[in-house]
Structures are given as structure tokens and as C-alpha cells.
């Protein structure tokens, strides 16, 4: 039986009838079994009796009386000499650049009273357009990470001896001076000034070599570019100029090279106008469901080892000669042949990218683009990207050198080779042969803890630096806070050690002088009309594109030799990079740890994605007999057995499984250590390139035991509904029944199915857009006719005067990257709660991104729906509050007064969108009672927010909520009030730009628009006129003010025929 194409589902439990799932989906919090409560070690803590009650009562009364006797003295401490630019209470923004290895993003840093508290995108950067990533948003928290290495030190064994910088310099310069063989090991470095410093160091100590690798390598792409274009750079891809995008395993929206840039380009051709329906088509060739694959219109499933075969097949179909023919599954073969025809039709307006770390694959892709006439159009080198520079063979060479005791000094620069390379184990062993081992790393990580000298670098928010992410697109990094610890910038250290004449040791800001001198000499003269001050103000300095188009060298013979051969094994595994924590670089950032994986929605851990298939009747069968998500399986990789939780994954190709890298760190700090499992040791190196797949894989059948505290948020706060089946009288999940039972089919026509007869998601195909539009409008009319009553007739009068806030979310632009979710946490002091609490449905996120599948269960499409408080005009939460803690404002906001809330949670229960969150603990350590507080993951930790340093990240304009109150999205009321006040002070009317919510500014694709619906000239008003708009659950007449645009895909069924 073929399932309906118009159906939407969350996971297979949603598609079958599973009473436990229904129960859990209906419950607002996790219904815990008695056994799980009893076995919980914490339950002993809360044991109490009458005596305790009386004690507490007495103490409470006494404390209240005592507290009322005396006014505690609070001090008001002004500046001694107040800096000109600081007015307490007003935020300052500084243009800077987020740099973490190859992840580069021009940003604005919001500081309050000298503390950075929020990252915004810098819209002056032409290539990002002001978007941000989840990682950039979260980077402000890592500044206050109390696990950072705080001062220079020497380490011998377990003994850490602190010393001054001067002493450290002295002891190190002795080891350099003897003509020692020095190796500097780093991830990608994009800073031209840093490179100059390295060059100076290398010039002084001539036996030095700088080795660069990337934890998830793009070495093959770089080497292919070297062969084809004569330059070892990442070419400039223009997704916005492509009608047809084909991606071979490149997760360009999530993790590959420069996702924010690519997402911004990509979204331009994905938003649809009803009058002129046109959009690009995106075909993803992969085995696992990546973030990019989930956004694709069509997915062609090939096993990881078949990637070369697939590319070769396409190349041959496009008429590229002398490409070896490799065996490939028939479905893919046929699809790729058809795809070749479509590509030919879009010659010059198509783009083929490849994420495989295989030289042959990459060269072939360049040749495909060349054959299609895309080179110079959608692929060029004029604005080549420098965001990946790593070389796998250099790293391998270094390990060999160390193994043969040839290295005297190793300087590790924010790299963690003892964890994030397949050679981690060899590296750790070989490293001990190096006499002097210096670490610039911020944390006492796996590598730093093996070093002899610690020379901690500044955080980027404390640094002066620069970046050239793409050729000629410079940006500056400027400090936004005085260094918190006794750290020194890494390139500064290098210059000191090389006794450079260009660095003035007496200067207060020696490295600033050095940076500025470099800019004045080398960069500013190239930019017409640019000055240092201007560049510092703007944060960016963009030179006109230069360089001639290089001649193209096909290099096909090299490609043919390097292509991988299909393994033909039964099961293959692909390793993926996590959108949040990368390959482990961001592990100690709890905002990213608790950011749900976009696809399988798990947090705090990595899980094996196993395929699932429909048995043609009523059952879905998952691979390895996994019944429940989180069930443990034994995974054997090349003979090494690991026990790991599995999640059932739609879109995962049969005969393949996948797992994210970056977890399982042992020395990441309080948040990152001992979370998940490390798979770097299983990675193989072929032809000198790290391969992110494995063919020697066995997975045992599920043990049936679910991982402890397994946390997957997709079923939390779900909008699913049950229904009573009239014939049997049984309660069933109406959504799934609609999918599998013909009797229910009429219900689902034209709708999404997951929530039968409930308009949560609407989607259509581009060619059906007219029909769907008519249907939508008819239905909306019916809803509005049936339910035009308002609960508060007086409010209309108020809404028409002044402001009436509203929001628009374009589901076609949303790619599910999660930067809005992290931005929301940063802006609104939303706490992280840890794995165990998430497993109990206690996560506090105000904004969640729901992921739904739709279409064919075998080849589903995905839609992401950011869901936050809908600020309903007929809000059902308001009239159930017994203390009127939540009520409606005259500007249409659903207000939440924390100090009024008594925690009945009636509102959360009554919210149809399930967006209200209850503070089960004092997650932010807001009060003084330890019993209320909550430890993130380990009993021994103190509450995460109890550390004063971490609390510095809190937004002072937003109340820190304590235990026992409900909270939810406020539409960033603090930003609304600030924007209004600024307009009032300037005595002008309010503009669109005055008020932007945190999620809106964070979004790389502009999917979210917030504004005043009464402003007829505003951007929001224009977006609200889009006939594709709909309101979630409009039929229940809660009159939400958040409009979503119907998801339109450009899926081509012929590819699958």
C-alpha cells in the first residue's frame, strides 16, 4: 500500500497506533513510572515528613519576620572615571567577527556596562547579509566558561605550576633558541595578521612548519581545486544563481564550509510568490538525512561507498569521457540519468557540490560544473573562500615525524588532535616524544592536558584580530571586554617568542598596534576610501572582486584513480557533523548541547540513526528491531564494539546507518565531558584523506533497554490529538489513523495529516499551488465564518489604535538550523536544564523548531516549523489563570507576569500550541534555597548558573525567573519597549527597524518577520498579504497573530519513477 502524499507525520509512532505514544504526547510533562521515580537517586532528597514541614514552616515565618526587620544595605557603585562611551543602562554594539577555526561570521556584539551579552549578525557583510548561526549565537556563553584555562602555567604530570608570562616566555625561548624543530598545529586560520605573525615566527625559527587541519576535513575539495583551478582554495559557490542544485553529501545548510552564507543565498530562490510561482529545485544525493537533505525537494539515496559511483554516473551521463563505470543501485542510476537531462536544461544556471572527502569525487564535480558551463557563473574562484584550509596529509606527516622523535616543540593552537582526528590515539602517544608541548587552547582539553606549557589565548570577544573569510572580504575582530583572565593572544605570544621588532612590548595594546600597522600597510591601501576607523566601525572592509578566471584543468586521470569503489557490504555507516557542537569544538557550550538535533530532535548525546520502513500494511519496522527511540544496540565498527542508543530515522537509506561525531569527549569541561560516544577513532584514512563512512559495520538487534535519560524533544509539547473511533469506541491517534486507514482518508484531503482536521502544517507542490491556494482560502473562509467571535470585544478598539504586534514565518525560508532557538535563549535568559530534565519534558525553550515529515514514507520531505507563543487574541491560557498572571495587552501581546504567577500550570495545560514552560527547579539559581536548585548533569556539580561568571551573560533587561512560575515567549517585549522608547525620544513614528525580535535578527534566511500590523507601510503588512499564509489551528478560533506561509516544494516525482 502506498501512503498518501499529502500526509504529515512526526515519527512512525505517529503513523501507527501506539497508545503509550498517544498518552505521552497528550501529557504536558513526562508521565514517569513509579519504578523510575524510586530508582532515582534524587528522590531521597525530597523525602520529608511532618516534622520537616513544621520546621520549614517555622523557618519560613521566622525568615520573613527577620527579613522585614532590616532593610539590607545595597550599594550603588559608580565608575571612578566613567568611560565616555558607556551610559549605564544603554547597550553598546561593537562590530566584530566570530572566528572559531574555519567558522567565520561578521557579527555585532551587544555589550551592557562592558559585558558582552548577545551576538547579532552584521548586515554590512555582503556575503552573510547579517545572518548568524547557532554556534555564533552561543559563542558569547563560552566567553564566561569557568572551565577556561585562566593563566599561563607549566605542567608536569598532574602538577600544574602557575607562572608569569615573562617566566613562561623565558622558559620557552630557551627551547626555541637551539635551532629546534618547531611544529605549529592549528585548525584553519583565516586571519591575515595572524598569518603574518606566524610568518615572522617561522622566519626567526627557520625550522618551523605550520600545519593546519580541519576536524571535519575538506582537504580533498581543496586539493581538487588546486588541480583544477591551480589554487588550493574553496571555490565561491552561488546558490542564489542556480535553478537546479545537486549536492552530493554536502550539508551546505548545516555544517559544510559556510552554512550561513549558503543558506542566505539558497533561501532567495526558495521563497514562493503565489502570483508567480517559481523556485529552484534542490536534489540531495546521500544516505542519511542531513539538515540540507531534509530541505531538499528530491533525495537520491546512495550508500556512502556508492558516492563515487553516483558522481561518475552523472558525469558519464553528462558526456564526460574516460570516467570509470562503477556499480550503483538501480533507483539511483535511473534518477541520476534523469537528473542529468535536467542539469543540461539548466546549463549555466545549475550547481553541483560535493561534500565527500575524496579527491576523485571532487575533481569529477568540478568537471560536471565545467561541462554544464557553471564555472565562472555559479562556481568561481574570484571570491574564493578561505574558510577551510586543512590538509589531512600534513597531519599524517606530523604524526609520523613525532613518532620518529623528530619534533622538538609542538605548539597546539585551538586544535584538539588528541580528540578530533582519526589519529587521536597515535597522536597522544607520539606527542609524549616531543620535549616541549605548548597549548594555546582555551580549555584543559584532551590535548592541552598533555602539554607541558599552557599559554592560554584570549576568547575572540577579548581579542584584536582580523579575518579574510573570502578573498577580498575582510572583517575585523575587536575586543568587547577586558580579558577576564590572565590570558594573552596567541599571535602576540608568537611574536614575543620570535622577539619580533614589530611588536612593542611596552605598548599597552601591543597586538592592536601590530594589527593596525598590518592593515595600514597591506589592506587599507587596497580599499578605496576606507580608513581604519571606518573599517573598525563597520567591522568589514570589502575590496572589489579581483583576479582573472583561471584556466580549467580537468585532471580526469587523477580523478579516475581516486574514486572509491562500492563496498558491497550489507551495512554501511556514515559519520556526520553535529549542527550544534560541530566535531566537538563547541562541546562545553550547554546552549548548543541542549539545542535539539534538527532531524532526530535528540539533545545531550549522539545516537545511531537506523532506517525504518513501512511493511505495506499497518506497521513500521525499524532496522535492528528497534522499537523505541533510545533503545540500546551494539554497534561493531571494524571489530570494535560500542553500545549506543538508536533512533529510528525516516529518510535513512536501507542498509545504512549514521552517527554524529564530536560527542564522547573526556576533557571538555563541566558540560561537554562524558556526553555521548566518541567515534573519531573509527574513522578510516584512504588515499591520504579521512573518510567519513565505514563499510565494516555490524549492528546487533536492540537490547530493548532504553538509554538512561534519553532525551528527544520531538514528542514533547506536541500538538497531536486523539479521537474516538466510533465503531469500536476506542481512543486512537486520529492523525496516524488517517494515514493508514482508508476510512479516515477523506479527513486528510489537502491537509497535513499528522493532526487530522487540524491545520498545523500546510504544504503543497509547486505545480499544485493554484489548487492548494483555492483550497486554503476556501477553508480559511469556512473557519472564519464559523468562528468569528472574540472573547474580548473591547480589545478591537484598542488594537486599532497604537500598535498591534504580529509575526510572519515563511516556512519556505526556514531551514531548521536552530540559530533562532539559541538566540532566544541568549536574549531571554532561558536556562538550560540538562539531559535528565529534558527527558522529563522540562526543557525551557521558548522557541522550538518542530520537524514534520510529509510525502512518501520511503522518501519523505521535511518541513520545519518554528513554534513559539502565538499571542492569540482569544488566548485560552488567559481565562484559566486563577490569579490573572497572564492577560492581554492593548498592543495584542499575551503578557506573563512572573511575580503574579502561583504555578497552577492551568495555562500550559490549556495552550493549544504547547509553548508555555514551567520552572520545575530554580534553574538559574535565582534564589538562595539549595533544595530548589538543580545540577545540570552530575550530582557533584553546582548549579550551572550559580557561578557568577556565567551569570554575566544574563540580559539585565529580562527578569530571571525562579522556581514555580510559568514562562513563555514574550515577543521580546524588552526590545519592543526599547524600540518604542527610542522612537518617542526622537519624537518620530515607529519604524520596522526599531523593533526586531531576537529570533528574527538571528535568522540567516530572513524567515521570521516581526512588526506592527497597524503600520500599513511596514514589511510585515506586505508579508501578511501573501495568499499562501495560514494560521495554525485557525479553526479553534484562538486568533493567533503569527502567520505561517504554506510550505511549497519543488519535488519532481519523475526522478523516482
Amino acid at each position: 500500500m502506498k501512503l498518501q502524499d499529502q500526509s504529515v507525520w512526526v515519527d512512525e509512532k505517529d503513523l501507527t497506533q501506539d497508545p503509550i505514544f498517544i498518552e505521552q504526547a497528550q501529557a504536558e510533562v513526562h508521565p514517569m513510572s513509579l519504578e523510575s521515580v524510586l530508582e532515582d537517586e534524587r528522590s531521597s532528597q525530597v523525602e520529608s515528613n511532618r516534622r520537616d514541614f513544621l520546621k520549614l514552616l517555622g523557618f519560613g515565618l521566622g525568615a520573613a519576620t527577620l527579613a522585614s526587620c532590616e532593610v539590607p544595605i545595597k550599594r550603588a557603585i559608580p565608575y571612578t572615571v566613567r568611560p565616555d562611551e558607556i551610559v549605564p543602562g544603554i547597550a553598546n554594539y561593537y562590530a566584530s567577527t566570530f572566528i572559531s577555526g574555519g567558522d567565520v561570521l561578521p557579527v555585532l556584539v551587544k555589550t551592557r556596562e562592558g559585558r558582552p551579552i548577545k551576538i547579532e549578525g552584521n548586515s554590512k557583510a555582503s556575503w552573510t547579509g547579517g545572518g548568524t548561526s547557532a554556534r555564533a549565537q552561543a559563542s558569547v556563553l563560552s566567553l564566561y566558561d569557568y572551565n577556561r584555562v585562566q593563566e599561563p602555567a607549566t605542567v608536569s604530570g598532574d602538577k600544574i605550576e602557575k607562572l608569569s608570562w615573562a617566566d613562561l616566555d623565558k622558559s620557552l625561548m630557551d627551547s626555541f633558541a637551539t635551532g629546534a624543530k618547531v611544529r605549529i598545529l592549528s585548525h584553519t586560520i583565516v586571519s591575515p595578521t595572524t598569518k603574518k605573525a606566524i610568518a615572522e615566527f617561522t622566519a626567526k625559527y627557520t625550522n618551523t612548519k605550520h600545519i593546519c587541519y580541519d576536524p571535519v576535513s575538506s582537504a580533498a575539495l581543496l586539493d581538487a581545486a588546486q588541480k583544477c583551478f591551480g589554487e588550493r582554495v574553496i571555490p565561491d559557490y552561488k546558490f542564489d544563481q542556480a535553478e537546479l542544485i545537486v549536492s552530493f553529501n554536502a550539508d551546505f545548510l548545516g555544517t559544510w564550509i559556510s552554512p550561513v552564507e549558503y543558506a542566505a543565498q539558497y533561501a532567495k530562490n526558495r521563497t514562493v510568490h503565489a502570483e508567480n510561482p517559481k523556485m529552484s529545485r534542490h536534489v540531495q544525493v546521500e544516505s542519511h538525512m542531513s539538515l540540507t537533505g531534509s530541505n531538499a525537494d528530491n533525495r537520491i539515496l546512495v550508500k556512502p561507498s556508492e558516492q563515487s559511483a553516483a558522481i561518475a554516473h552523472l558525469a558519464t551521463a553528462l558526456g564526460i569521457s574516460s570516467v570509470p563505470s562503477l556499480s550503483l543501485n538501480d533507483k539511483a542510476k535511473s534518477a541520476l540519468s534523469k537528473l542529468a537531462d535536467q542539469l543540461k536544461a539548466s546549463a549555466g544556471k545549475s550547481l553541483v557540490v560535493c561534500g565527500n572527502n575524496n579527491l576523485g569525487d571532487q575533481i569529477l564535480c568540478f568537471n560536471i560544473n565545467q561541462a554544464l558551463g557553471n564555472i565562472g557563473k555559479t562556481v568561481s574562484t574570484a571570491r574564493a573562500s578561505f574558510q577551510r584550509q586543512g590538509s589531512d596529509s600534513d597531519l599524517i606527516g606530523l604524526v609520523k615525524e613525532m613518532q620518529s622523535n623528530q619534533v622538538d616543540v609542538l605548539i597546539v593552537w585551538h586544535a584538539n588532535p588528541c580528540f578530533d582526528t582519526p589519529l587521536a590515539k597515535d597522536f597522544s602517544t607520539a606527542m609524549t616524544s616531543v620535549k616541549t608541548r605548548v597549548s594555546f587552547n582555551a580549555l584543559m582539553d584532551e590535548t592541552a592536558s598533555m602539554c607541558t606549557h599552557l599559554a592560554p589565548d584570549h576568547h575572540y570577544l577579548e581579542s584584536w584580530s582580523d579575518a579574510e573569510a573570502k578573498r577580498g572580504l575582510y572583517s575585523l575582530v575587536q575586543p568587547t571586554i577586558n580579558p577576564l583572565f590572565n590570558t594573552r593572544q596567541a599571535p602576540h605570544s608568537l611574536l614575543v617568542w620570535s622577539a619580533s621588532p614589530n611588536i612593542n612590548g611596552d605598548s599597552e595594546q601591543a597586538y592592536y598596534d601590530y594589527l593596525r600597522a598590518n592593515w595600514t600597510q597591506n589592506i587599507l591601501p587596497k580599499a578605496a576610501g576606507a580608513s581604519w576607523d571606518l573599517c573598525l566601525h563597520d567591522g568589514v572592509c570589502e575590496l572589489p572582486a579581483s583576479g582573472t578566471a583561471a584556466s580549467f584543468n580537468p585532471s580526469l586521470t587523477e580523478a579516475a584513480a581516486a574514486l572509491s569503489k562500492p563496498a558491497g557490504t550489507e551495512l554501511e555507516l556514515s559519520f556526520t557533523e553535529s549542527v550544534g557542537i560541530g566535531a566537538g569544538q563547541y562541546s562545553n557550550n550547554p546552549w548548543l548541547m541542549e539545542l535539539a538535533d534538527p532531524i532526530n530532535r535528540t539533545v545531550w548525546g549522539n545516537y545511531l540513526a537506523v532506517p525504518i520502513k513501512f511493511d505495506g500494511d499497518r506497521r513500521f519496522i525499524a532496522f535492528a528491531e528497534v522499537n523505541e527511540n533510545g533503545e540500546m544496540v551494539d554497534l561493531t565498527l571494524a571489530g570494535v564494539k560500542t553500545t549506543i542508543g538508536a533512533v529510528k530515522q525516516f529518510g535513512q537509506m536501507e542498509g545504512t546507518v549514521s552517527i554524529p561525531l564530536g560527542y564522547g569527549r573526556t576533557k571538555a569541561g563541566v558540560c561537554g565531558s562524558d556526553i555521548g560516544t566518541d567515534f573519531f577513532p573509527s574513522l578510516k584514512i584512504e588515499n591520504g584523506y579521512v573518510q567519513y563512512y565505514l563499510t565494516d559495520v555490524q549492528v546487533s538487534n536492540s537490547s530493548g533497554k532504553i538509554e538512561k535519560n534519553f532525551a528527544c524533544v520531538q514528542h514533547h509539547h506536541t500538538l497531536g490529538v486523539t479521537a474516538v473511533e466510533t465503531s469500536t469506541g476506542k481512543t486512537i491517534n486520529a492523525d496516524e489513523a488517517a494515514l493508514v486507514d482508508d476510512a479516515f482518508k477523506p479527513l486528510t484531503k489537502g491537509y497535513q495529516g499528522s493532526l487530522t482536521k487540524r491545520s498545523v502544517l500546510r504544504q503543497t507542490n509547486l505545480k499544485d499551488i493554484k489548487e492548494s491556494l483555492e483550497h486554503l482560502q476556501e477553508e480559511r473562509k469556512e473557519f472564519q465564518k464559523l468562528n468569528s467571535y472574540t472573547l474580548y470585544p473591547g480589545h478591537e478598539y484598542k488594537y486599532n489604535s497604537g500598535h498591534h504586534w504580529g509575526m510572519h514565518i515563511d516556512l519556505n525560508a526556514c531551514i531548521g538550523c536552530g540559530s533562532c532557538a539559541v538566540a532566544c535563549m541568549a536574549e531571554n535568559n532561558v536556562p538550560v536544564v540538562g539531559k535528565r530534565e529534558v527527558s522529563r519534558h522540562h526543557e525551557m525553550t521558548w522557541l522550538r523548531i518542530d520537524r514534520y515529515f510529509y510525502g512518501d514514507v520511503e522518501k519523505p520531505n521535511v518541513v520545519y516549523q518554528p513554534m513559539m507563543c502565538q499571542h492569540c487574541n482569544n488566548a485560552p491560557c488567559e481565562n484559566v489563570c486563577p490569579v490573572n498572571a497572564t492577560n492581554h495587552s492593548s498592543e495584542g501581546l499575551n503578557q506573563m507576569a512572573y511575580n503574579r504567577c502561583v504555578g497552577t500550570r492551568y495555562c500550559a495545560n490549556n495552550c493549544p500550541y504547547k509553548v508555555r514552560r514551567f520552572n520545575w527547579y530554580d534553574f538559574t539559581a535565582a534564589d538562595l534555597f539549595p533544595i530548589n536548585q538543580h545540577n545540570l548533569n552530575k550530582e557533584t556539580d553546582k548549579p550551572y548558573y550559580a557561578e557568577n561568571l556565567i551569570r554575566m551573560v544574563l540580559n539585565p533587561d529580562v527578569t530571571v525567573r525562579s522556581r514555580g512560575v510559568i514562562e513563555k515567549c514574550s515577543f521580546c517585549i524588552q526590545r519592543i519597549q526599547e524600540g518604542k522608547l527610542n522612537a518617542k525620544k526622537a519624537e518620530r513614528s515607529l519604524n520596522d527597524s526599531d523593533v526586531k525580535t531576537a529570533c528574527q535578527t538571528a535568522c540567516p534566511t530572513g524567515a521570521i518577520t516581526f512588526g506592527d500590523m497597524n503600520n500599513k507601510e511596514g514589511v510585515l503588512t506586505k508579508k501578511l498579504e501573501n495568499p499562501l499564509n495560514y494560521i495554525v489551528l485557525e479553526e479553534v478560533n484562538v486568533q493567533s497573530v503569527v502567520n505561517y506561509t504554506m510550505k511549497v516544494n519543488n519535488r519532481d516525482e519523475n526522478l523516482y519513477a
Binding site: 522585614s68 571612578t80 572615571v81 566613567r82 486599532n800
Partner: protein, 470 residues
């Protein structure tokens, strides 16, 4: 109790009330005098200074209506121009006009005159102060509130007396009736019998519970509020001197008020704008101003900032400022060396500096001055000064009281939510002057058509939770 007693009670009560409402308050007068008059008029009221001795001023002006004296004090120049005989006479004698004080009310002038009279006659400060008068202290609003309460107490007392009086008559009547009915043994009910009757006991108990509950609830609501909080600050900084006498604009030091949520406690660097030149105060000499220097590291002897001041130890700092205080003392007392008295004074002042600039969290004398915070809002309240000062165009005094008359600042307003809300109910939005409000089209139409006469803050959401709580 008889009629005579009743009338006596009533008249005493009314007399008290009259005193409460009408009597000028020499204490308040003293503050005003110190802030406004003392720089030119002698404090002893008997000798001339820049201005004439003020003792007996009311007698000298007795020939004219009291209004003339009020006007003379508030704006002498206008009277000279108008050619008032007394005014021209005084002007020709003293050749200068007095600074105008338009802000003083007639009541203020009365208070000052009462103080002048008291000092001149030697009665002020000598006799124990009238308890009721002292209780009402300063501030018009409070005086009104207190006298209002007294009226209620008065009426209550009056009614109680009346009730007793009536009961007495009733008892007499029922006694006579019993006698008339032939009950010869009947006795008139005593007051004790009344007081111990079931009805009265029940009533009293009920009243006590009601009163107790009311007081408890009110006090519980007021918990954590600190109206009139007036702690001693590390520096005896007088707003009366700075804002009152020297008329420095509030926004000069509190420059955040017009643009930020915080009004901002000025940094020491702001103090130095003036105190680089003014090294000695009128009240405390070097004792207080040296604290600013010790905070920021300014050496008044050389007139220069001390380099690397934050790295100096307290002992090194001590040397610098003890020298300065000692030198000033010698100069002031025309001594060539520091006598024992002088040394004592220097030590005393230095100890004051150390105890003011250091506390349990701050060991060094150098660095910021840690003031005691007066106005403490709960953490869940968002308040923005600029909204009120720049947009609402409120005077600082509306919430902070007449700070320019306060030597030691106190929290003038209760800062309770009710207080905020009341003002939002009553205050008009500057609706027509600010283009921002143009988006409130309905209100503009209603204003035009006369349906509304004004738009209050509450009309544009001033009472809604998330205007202040988020």
C-alpha cells in the same frame, strides 16, 4: 460625665486641629533658611552680613499687608520696580536686590519667618518642641495626610463621647422609669456594667480583630518598602548645597536620567569637573572633599592627578592626603606648624576618609565611592528614567521630592506599585507634541471630536503588566 465635660473635650480637640493646620513650622523654616538665606543673612538674626539682620522683620513690615512681605521675599526686584515705599527705602540703603525665590510658597515663607522670630527672640531650640507639631515635620503632603487622620480620630472621639452621653441619658431614663414603675430597689446601671456586657465585649473583640487584620495586611504589603529611608552616606554630600544653593541641574550629574533607564550615580570624574577648583567645602572644610580626591587620585597640593594611583598602597595614599589636610589646617589657622590640635584634626579627617572609602569588600582607599543605594526596586520591575524624564517631561521632584532642600537625601516616594499605577491613571500623555503618538489614530480623532479631553497614560497601556514586568 456631664455637658460641661463634653464641651471641654470637643473644644480641646478642635483647638488641637487648628494648631495642626495653621501653625508655621520653624523646623522647616530652618532648612529653607539654611538652603536659601544663610549665604547672605546672618544666622544669629541680629547682625548684618551681605544682607540685613532679619530679627524683627515682621514688626518692621507690620505697617503693610502680609502679602507685601511675601512678595518682597519671593521677588524683591519686582517691588522695587513698582515703587513700594518700604522696598525703595531698603533698596536705597542696601544698593542691591535679593535673589528671587519664586519656588517658595507662602507657607514656606511663614515657616522661615517663624524660624527667624524664634532665633531672634531666643525661643527656638530652647523650649521642648511641641510634640504634635514636630510629628508632622516637613512636606505638605504628609502634613495634610496626618491632619486628615486627626480629623477622623477627632470625629471618632466625638461620637464616642456622644454615645456615652446618650447612654448616660438612657440609663437615667430607664432608671427613672423603673422607679416610676414602682421598682424601688432599681439601681442606675453603672459604667462597669455597660463595659462588661456581652454585646460590648463582642463588639470590642470584633473591632479588635478587624483592626488587627487591617493593620497586619497593610504592614505585610508595606514589607520591604522603605519610604523615608535616609541612610548615612560615605560622603556627607549635600544636595541642598549642590542643587539648592549652587543650582546645579540634576541632569548634570545624573546624566543617565534623560537617556537611560538608570539615572546614574555620577562617577568621581564628574565630581572633579568642579572640585578640581573647589578643594574646601563650606560645611566640612577638607574632611569630605578630600574623599573624592582619595577616590580618584588627585593631589590638591600640586593640582595634578597622581600617576598609577590604583597601584599605591593605603599607606602611600595616607601620606599624600594627610599632608594636604595638615597644610590646609595650618593655613586656615595661620599656624606655621602642625600643633597637637592640628595633628588630631588631620588624623580624625583621615580616619573618616578611610572608613568611608573602604568596606568589607573594598580594602583600598582608591577606587570608586561605594554609595548606599536609596531607591531599590524589586528585581522583576523594569523602570526607565528616560521614559519619564525625556518623554513624559516630569520634574525630578515629582518622585524624588525637593531634593534641592535635602542635606541628607531620603526616599521621598513609597515606590509601591499602587503609587506608580495611580500616577499612570492620572497623568496626561504629551499626546499632541510627540509625533510618535500619531499611530494612535482613534484617540486623535476622539480628541478632535471632543469625545476625549485628554489621553491618560493608562489609555495607552500604562496599567498593563508587561509595561513594567518582563
Amino acid at each position: 460625665m456631664n455637658c460641661k465635660g463634653l464641651f471641654l473635650t470637643i473644644s480641646v480637640l478642635f483647638l488641637n486641629l487648628a494648631v495642626l493646620i495653621a501653625a508655621p513650622n520653624p523646623d522647616a523654616g530652618k532648612t529653607i533658611f539654611k538652603n536659601n538665606c544663610a549665604s547672605c543673612h546672618n544666622k544669629n538674626m541680629k547682625d548684618d552680613l551681605t544682607g540685613p539682620a532679619l530679627g524683627g522683620v515682621e514688626e518692621r513690615w507690620a505697617a503693610y499687608p502680609k502679602a507685601d512681605l511675601y512678595l518682597w521675599i519671593k521677588n524683591s526686584q519686582s517691588m522695587v520696580t513698582k515703587g513700594h515705599p518700604m522696598a525703595t527705602q531698603l533698596f536705597s540703603k542696601w544698593k542691591s536686590v535679593m535673589t528671587p525665590f519664586p519656588s517658595l510658597s507662602d507657607e514656606d515663607v511663614d515657616n522661615v519667618l517663624a524660624y527667624i522670630d524664634g532665633v531672634a527672640k531666643g525661643t527656638y531650640g530652647a523650649a521642648p518642641k511641641d510634640a504634635t507639631v514636630a510629628g508632622t515635620a516637613t512636606g505638605g503632603a504628609q502634613a495634610k495626610g496626618a491632619s486628615g487622620a486627626w480629623i477622623y480620630y477627632g470625629i471618632f472621639g466625638l461620637l464616642a463621647v456622644l454615645a456615652l452621653f446618650l447612654w448616660n441619658i438612657m440609663a437615667d431614663l430607664s432608671h427613672s422609669k423603673a422607679l416610676a414603675d414602682g421598682n424601688t430597689t432599681a439601681k442606675k446601671k453603672t459604667f462597669w456594667q455597660l463595659a462588661s456586657s456581652k454585646a460590648v465585649v463582642t463588639f470590642v473583640l470584633f473591632a479588635l480583630i478587624l483592626f488587627g487584620g487591617y493593620t497586619t495586611v497593610n504592614n505585610a504589603i508595606a514589607l520591604g518598602r522603605s519610604q523615608n529611608y535616609s541612610p548615612e552616606q560615605p560622603i556627607k554630600f549635600s544636595h541642598a548645597t549642590h542643587a539648592g544653593l549652587n543650582k546645579i541641574d540634576c541632569n548634570y550629574c545624573h546624566d543617565g536620567a534623560r537617556r537611560s533607564k538608570q539615572s546614574v550615580i555620577p562617577g568621581t570624574s564628574t565630581c572633579m569637573n568642579c572640585h578640581k577648583a573647589i578643594a574646601k567645602g563650606s560645611n566640612y572644610g577638607t574632611a569630605e572633599i578630600t574623599k573624592i580626591y582619595a577616590s580618584i587620585g588627585f593631589d590638591p597640593t600640586t593640582g595634578k592627578y597622581i600617576e598609577n594611583y590604583d597601584k599605591l598602597s593605603n599607606e602611600e595614599i595616607e601620606k599624600i592626603y594627610k599632608k594636604w589636610i595638615g597644610d590646609s589646617w595650618m593655613k586656615d589657622n595661620s599656624k606655621s606648624s602642625l600643633t597637637e590640635d592640628g595633628q588630631h584634626e588631620v588624623d580624625h579627617q583621615w580616619n573618616g576618609i578611610v572608613s568611608s572609602l573602604t568596606n568589607e569588600n573594598k580594602a583600598s582607599v582608591s577606587g570608586p565611592i561605594e554609595w548606599i543605594r536609596l531607591h531599590n526596586l524589586p528585581d522583576h520591575v523594569y523602570f526607565n528614567h528616560s521614559q519619564h524624564v525625556t518623554v513624559g517631561k516630569l520634574e525630578c521632584q515629582q518622585c524624588h521630592g525637593k531634593v534641592e532642600t535635602m542635606d541628607v537625601v531620603k526616599q521621598y516616594s513609597p515606590l509601591s506599585m499602587g503609587w506608580c499605577i495611580n500616577c499612570h491613571r492620572e497623568t496626561d500623555v504629551k499626546f499632541k507634541d510627540n509625533k510618535y503618538y500619531e499611530s494612535y489614530k482613534t484617540y486623535h480623532e476622539e480628541l478632535k471630536s471632543g469625545k476625549k479631553t485628554s489621553v491618560k497614560v493608562s489609555d495607552i497601556g500604562g496599567l498593563e503588566c508587561q509595561k513594567c514586568h518582563y
